[in-house]
Amino acid sequence: MSAPVDSLSQPRFVAGDNGDRLLQVSLGPQHPSTHGVFRMNVDLDGETVVRLKPVFGYLHRNHEKIAESATYLGSIPYTDRLDYICSLTNNWAYALAVEKLAGIEVPERAEYLRIITAELTRLINHTAFAGFILGDMGAWGSALMYAFREREKILDLFEDLTGARMMCNYMRFGGCRCDTPEGWVDRAKKVVAEYPAFLDELEQLLLGNEILLARTRDVGALPAATLLDGGITGPLLRAAGCAYDVRKVDGYGLYSRFKFRVPLGGHGDCYDRIMIRFLEMRESLAILREALDTLPAGPVINPKVKVRAFKPPVGEAYARIEGPKGELGFYLVSDGSPRPYRYRVRPPSFINLTLLEDMCLGRDLADVVVILGSIDIVLGEVDR
């Protein structure tokens, strides 16, 4: 029985608070620029947004329930699929939480490899962000193609090191799964050396463009205090001027050894969010150059940690890292068995959407798309 013609197809009008009729549009789960299956019920007065209710859950894959019935080692490949653009930072956050839960030390070379792969992942994420946001604004293709052209070079490095392009499954508790194949460090240095030239080209294409300036200046701006109250972390918060970078605050891994700066914006609008990510890419390149040059020799994993039947002591732990999208945290509760009792992911994309409605009220439908793009969400992490 094909579904009867329900009201979904008729233009549905909702009564606005001042009595006029608002057109209710659902930028539905299948929409060119919602970065996946994300839905927003938008009430439009003409083209300006009067009410915007995000709807989640279309990619709720029950990662936490599955993790509760899997071993600690078995959950590592699942963390690749949380934020499926930056798999290595997810791995690192989970490994960091388990190491804090079980009190495991990580050898120096493994820490360096973790920093190198995490910063390469940050490059991929921010480059893809630049491509997607220009796609949201309508120039579908060019910027995204150049972004993915560079991303392929870094994916080749990951495939060489970890075995997979996107789902690296590389970190283990107490270090990394395998050491760098011979010649990998030189190839990585070459990619890092060529990257600034590509960034200049992308900036020349993107940031001077008057149409982009007009579309992003003063769009979706919120003060830093409101963002902080909404739990928003990462480039969004720094674009509003609040200097809070978990790499500097917690100093996890060996980040304290590397000289890098944290760029801060002044207005907190979409343009600043794009600029902050470009400046962060340059800082990541600085870290990468330094880390690749001083990569020490030594074991890649802590030999004392058992690969199978790994049973951390009873207790709980919360650890977080500065993911490309914000503060990515893992809260683990262990009751001594080889399966975590409670496994919780603190998803930056999900919590960064808390203030989406506040950013979009009173703006155009076209701005809603750009604001959503500037928040940079990935649905695997939003719905978990």
Binding site: M1, S2, A3, V5, D6, L8, S9, S26, G28, F56, G57, H60, N62, E64, K65, S69, K100, L101, A102, G103, T226, L228, D229, G230, G231, I232, T233, C242, Y244, V249, D250, G251, P312, P313, V314, G315, E316, A317, Y318, R320, E327, G329, Y331, V333, S334, D335, G336, Y341, R342, R344, R346, F350, I351, L353, T354, L355, D383, R384
Partner: protein, 249 residues
């Protein structure tokens, strides 16, 4: 960098006496002890933690739920000092991790526990104090069933609205769709058992035996078995031939 919960406990006890905070020691090497609050005055305590000059915990980074059917395991993880014997039935718990961005202070773990896991699963909402709690509380309500009083928009956030159960609870049983399980063993085999015909043709729970087992190797048998299915499918198809379609949403 990590705050001392003991010190903060005293400040809370001084500032909000009704809260009766308790320090729960974390036995694991992480050493993140937590403060257990009484649910009645939770909002005031959080407001105090956020605004007090020496504390300024202005970032509620993480708010999540945990289901403790047996209170004993709960007390093995968060060891209470010398509290009277644990309550009889299990409870639901909400754990918050607070950070201070000004003083760059590490996670302050604060816990709130419900009376029981059924009707008493009520907690005060933190949304008036921290706006970031809004979506995370809706998720705890959706997956654990903790009702947050005073929440501006308490609806299911991840599951569809018509869904009744609370899936992240330990005693939730997922619906049974284990009909085609090529690699079942252990827990999956227990659930897939009734779908697999025992050699004599009837399945253990008496359900009608699915079409006779198709040896994968022989192609002809599969074809012969499928053709009756195809006629049945043509006869069964209830809806009219493709006329007009609905419209894009």
């Amino acid at each position: 960098m990590n705050p001392e919960p003991a010190v903060i406990l005293e400040q809370i006890r001084a500032a909000v006496p009704a809260a009766r905070p308790v320090l729960l020691r974390n036995p694991g090497p992480a050493g993140q002890d937590s403060i257990l609050l009484d649910t009645a005055s939770a909002q005031d305590v959080f407001r105090f933690l956020k605004t007090a000059p020496g504390l300024e915990f202005d970032l509620l980074s993480n708010l999540t739920g945990t289901d403790w059917p047996e209170p004993a395991t709960a007390h093995s993880v968060g060891v209470p000092p010398e509290i009277p014997p644990p309550p009889a039935q299990g409870f639901l718990e909400v754990v918050c991790h607070l950070y201070s961005t000004l003083r760059r202070e590490g996670p302050l773990v604060v816990r709130m526990r419900t009376a029981d896991r059924a009707e008493g699963a009520h907690l005060p909402t933190l949304t008036p104090v921290y706006r970031s709690a809004e979506f995370q509380e809706r998720e705890v309500f959706d997956l654990f069933g903790v009702v947050f009083e005073g929440h501006p928009d308490l609806r299911r956030i991840l599951m569809w609205d018509e869904f009744h159960d609370f899936p992240m609870r330990r005693d939730y049983v997922a619906p049974d769709d284990y009909e085609y399980e090529p690699t079942p063993h252990e827990a999956v085999w227990e659930r897939a058992k009734e779908h697999y015909a025992v050699p004599d043709g009837t399945s253990e729970t008496g359900a009608p035996a699915p079409p006779q087992s198709l040896g994968l190797a022989d192609e002809a048998a599969c074809e012969a078995a499928c053709s009756p299915l195809r006629e049945e499918r043509d006869r069964l198809s209830p809806n009219p031939p493709a006329s007009d379609r609905e419209v894009t949403p």
